[in-house]
């Protein structure tokens, strides 16, 4: 069974149909790339999956369980980790404390008043940091990290609740080309080893074709392609969208 299954998902803002009746699925251990030109509906689609937007209709299920319309924090509790296009971390805390906070929330100790937060789940946090290659930086303040390291920290935080699904919004945005490849290789290694499903949006086609197991293409809110990288690359509709004609010039003449 698919980890994430999306059926007939739709959302309109006023008169604009941002996402129209799209359906797809992600399997365990699979990296699915969601691509499309600007304004195609990627972000809208993403925000309906993570709970920030409520869809007009359609359903989203995680391991067969309906999660449509749940709040982001409820979605997280069910096993969905997220990383953001612009990293969101806790700047006044060390790298290890960032992960510890996620673990405290995961273990439902947020309203605990007695222990010190820094004494909780330290070993677990270090293990997560080791997996993303951040072990040596555990005691540094998050505020002083280089951007690539912040992305890796975010990944460790997203893995803290042993998620079934990772939602990554432009995971390599703002990074140097070499870092991009390294980060995606790291993600691919982790998710394949642990059977996590990943859905990511991405603008960098090198990253997409190097690491995605499968690609879905959105254009003007519609799903126009779903398949292996080679098949998608060869798809005439996708070529039209990316290489001219299509949305940009279709109505000009």
């Amino acid at each position: 069974m698919s980890v994430l299954a999306v059926r007939d998902l739709a959302k309109a803002f006023g008169g604009v149909q941002a996402v129209r009746d799209i359906s797809f699925a992600v399997d365990s251990g699979e990296l699915l790339a969601l691509i499309g030109p600007n304004g195609a509906g990627k972000t809208t689609c993403f925000n309906m999956l993570n709970g920030q937007l409520r869809p007009d209709h359609g359903s989203v299920t995680l391991d067969g369980r309906e999660i449509t319309g749940l709040k982001p924090r409820a979605v997280w509790r069910l096993g969905v980790g997220r990383t953001f296009q612009i990293t969101a971390t806790f700047g006044s805390m060390t790298v290890r404390e960032n992960v510890q906070i996620a673990l405290i929330s995961h273990h439902r100790r947020a309203f605990s008043f007695w222990p010190r937060a820094r004494d909780l789940y330290g070993a677990e946090a270090d293990a997560l940091l080791a997996r993303v290659g951040m072990a040596e930086q555990a005691d540094r303040p998050a505020a002083v990290l280089a951007y690539g390291d912040l992305k890796r920290l975010e990944l460790a935080v997203a893995l803290a609740n042993a998620p079934r699904l990772l939602l990554m919004d432009e995971p390599t945005a703002g990074m140097a080309p070499k870092e991009r490849v390294e980060l995606m290789a790291l993600v691919a290694g982790i998710v394949r080893a642990e059977g996590i499903a990943v859905l990511f949006t991405e603008h960098d086609m090198d990253v997409v074709f190097a690491h995605a197991d499968r690609i879905i293409v959105l254009n003007r809110g519609e799903l126009i392609a779903d398949g292996k990288p080679d098949a998608v690359r060869a798809d005439p509709r996708v070529q039209q969208v990316y290489l001219g004609g299509g949305s940009t010039f279709g109505h000009a003449g």
């Binding site: 805390m93 605990s112 008043f113 820094r118």
Partner: protein, 626 residues
């Protein structure tokens, strides 16, 4: 009420709204461009009143031209004062944390108050009436002052002029652009320093003019600064920060509602008398609370763009090094044995320090780790104090029980208000806390039969075992130290760590399953209890309580203590409270114009230690260690 009554009250409201609009428009402009919440804006208004009084009294009695020239000159004079203040003071602290700017402007409030007291004396001064407008016109059979009719026209005229300046001049375009994104305006090569100076001078001019226009209507009084600043805050927030038309709309709304409350007077209903005229003291705050809950950005406001360069992020919190723990333990022990060696005056002063250290630490918990700046924290100090006093006097409950029940009452108050407060953020949140504090204050102030009204309550003394100063000193020391340690512990505990995390990144907190709003609500309630404990100790140490205990001035004292010590340090509020209490005591005992001295000290501290005293010491220490 007849139709004629309604019309007159409507006109009264509109006349009052004009001055209010001018002050609020200035405040709004200044905030929009410089992001400074100018606490001294009411003081500038007051200066306008006094200067206009002197000018019109000397030169303005003869002709309308002379009178109006005097009014305009008073506005210009205040504008020049604003110009000088911006260059000498504010320009140096734009890089400081936002709250420090607030503290500096509060220092100005104190200085200006004493300057006015020195120059004009403590008596109310009633200026001459405007030549040519001394009479009244008949409106539906009732007389209405001619001068007020002119005032009604002044509001829209000034709105039009401000609109012209902002929309039809290059300078105005820059001001509007800076309001939306001042970093971008700077990046485009505009000299921000002079833009800020100009805006501050214009805002000051508007405040001064608003004050000057009031001279024929009401006497010049020394408390105008605080009443006007709170009115102006309300108008700006209701209208939407940075929105001039919003300020105009809000000024009209509040002016008219206030006038109606006065006009309605006492109403008999359900066998009791409800006094609408007393309600005027809080009605604007009720309006603000309602508006903020329904439209969190004000009537015509928009969510403000986040500044790109906020103050440097806090360094990660660490437990104190061993030698400092030993140092504090030593200090505690020294304080415990102190009564053996000293006279009681120092003990009384130290009890105040303990109480306010706890109060300031609870406020710091909100401002620092929880990221919620409260302008009305004295409300919870006051609820705790009043609850204890009322329990002792009305129900004969012993002090020992009130030490638990007083904080509980304060926590319940914070629970109720906090539900609304945590729905907002930033300046709006601060203003809502101010509104709630003002509502609590007016209940205490007006409910003569229960709270003793403006006189307060007296005769609230500890039981025999704690009646001696030394005994009460020890009780305060132990309870306040326990409270401080508890607050400090919670900051490091998972609950406090999650609060800090949510302050750093609400987005990330939400994405890892944290219900931040519920967390903040609980934190607000919790610190309410600690402030309440400080209040209970306060009332038993003084033996009496009055509405001042929960007034705006007391909330501001708390802010000053926290900021003096440094908001990014945990020991800061304690040091700040100590310094503040001793300064106040020392200066007040020795000098007549102690407020001005205190204000100057605050300003100097802000200029010298923008990270607070403890923040400064830590910075020095860390540099020395590196």
């Amino acid at each position: 009420m007849t139709l004629a009554d309604i019309t007159i009250q409507l006109l009264n409201g509109l006349a009052g709204a004009s001055s209010l609009f001018l002050v609020a428009a200035g405040l709004s402009l200044i905030f929009g461009v410089t992001r400074i919440v100018n606490f001294a804006h009411g003081s500038l208004f007051m200066l306008g009143v006094y200067i206009a009084y002197s000018l019109t009294d000397q030169f303005g009695r003869g002709s309308p031209l002379a009178f109006w020239s005097c009014v305009l000159a008073a506005g210009v004079a205040v504008g020049v004062i604003g110009f000088v203040v911006e260059i000498l003071l504010l320009r140096r602290i734009y890089q400081a944390p936002e709250l420090f700017q607030l503290l500096a402007t509060f220092g100005l409030v104190l200085v200006i108050k004493d300057v006015v007291l020195k120059l004009w004396g403590p008596e109310d001064l009633l200026g001459p009436r405007a030549p040519g407008l001394r009479g009244a016109v008949q409106v539906m059979g009732k007389s209405f002052p001619e001068y007020d009719l002119v005032l009604i026209a002044v509001g829209p005229i000034m709105l039009g002029l401000i609109w012209l300046v902002l929309n039809r001049t290059r300078w105005g375009v820059l001001v509007r652009a800076a309001t939306q994104d001042r970093d971008m305006v700077g990046a485009l090569g505009v000299n921000q320093a002079w833009l800020f100076t100009g805006v501050f001078a214009l805002g000051s001019f508007l405040a001064g003019l608003g004050g000057a226009l009031q001279v024929p209507r009401e006497p010049a009084q020394l408390f105008l600064d605080i009443t006007v600043i709170s009115d102006a805050f309300v108008v700006v927030v209701v209208g939407g920060l940075g929105s001039i038309p919003g300020a105009f709309l809000a000024a009209l709304l509040i002016g008219v509602i206030k006038a109606f409350c006065i006009g309605i007077g006492d109403v008999q209903a359900f066998g009791t008398t409800f006094s609408f005229s007393k309600f005027t003291l809080v009605v604007e705050f009720v309006v603000m609370a309602i508006v903020l809950v329904i439209r969190p950005w004000g009537l015509l406001g928009k969510p403000a763009g986040e500044p790109r360069h906020t103050a440097a992020t806090e360094a990660p919190l660490k437990p104190l090094p061993g030698w400092l723990v030993l140092g504090f333990a030593g200090l505690g022990a020294a304080l415990l044995v102190l009564p053996v060696f000293t006279q009681s005056y120092l003990l009384i002063l130290l009890i105040d320090v303990f109480v306010f250290a706890l109060f300031a630490a609870s406020l710091h918990f909100l401002m620092g780790p929880a990221g919620m700046v409260s302008f009305g924290h004295a409300a919870y100090l006051g609820i705790g104090a009043y609850a204890a006093a009322l329990m002792v006097l009305r129900a004969g409950i012993p002090m020992e029980a009130t030490l638990a029940l007083g904080p509980l009452a304060a926590a319940l108050g914070a629970l109720l208000f906090g539900w609304f407060v945590v729905r907002l953020s930033g300046v709006y949140l601060a203003m809502l806390t101010l509104a709630f504090a003002q509502i609590v204050w007016s209940i205490a102030f007006q409910w003569d039969g229960f709270t003793g009204g403006s006189n307060g309550l007296i005769g609230i003394w500890p039981p025999a075992w704690a009646a001696e100063k030394e005994a009460f000193y020890h009780l305060s020391l132990v309870l306040c130290a326990a409270g401080l340690l508890a607050l400090r512990h919670i900051i490091f505990a998972p609950f406090g760590a999650i609060l800090r995390a949510g302050r750093d990144s609400p987005l990330r907190a939400d994405a890892i399953g944290i219900d931040l709003r519920r967390h903040q609500w609980f934190a607000f309630t919790l610190v309410g209890a600690f402030a309440g404990l400080a209040g209970v100790l306060h009332v038993f140490s003084k033996g009496s309580i009055s509405p001042e205990t929960l007034g705006i001035a007391r909330s501001v004292d708390g802010l000053v203590m926290v900021l003096l010590g440094g908001v990014q340090t945990l020991t800061g509020p304690v040091v700040g409270a100590g310094v503040f209490i001793f300064l106040q005591d020392e200066i007040a005992r020795r000098v007549e114009f102690w407020r001005a001295i205190l204000g100057l000290v605050i300003i100097v501290l802000v200029l010298a230690f923008p990270q607070g005293i403890v923040g400064f010491l830590r910075g020095r220490f860390m540099r020395a260690a590196a």
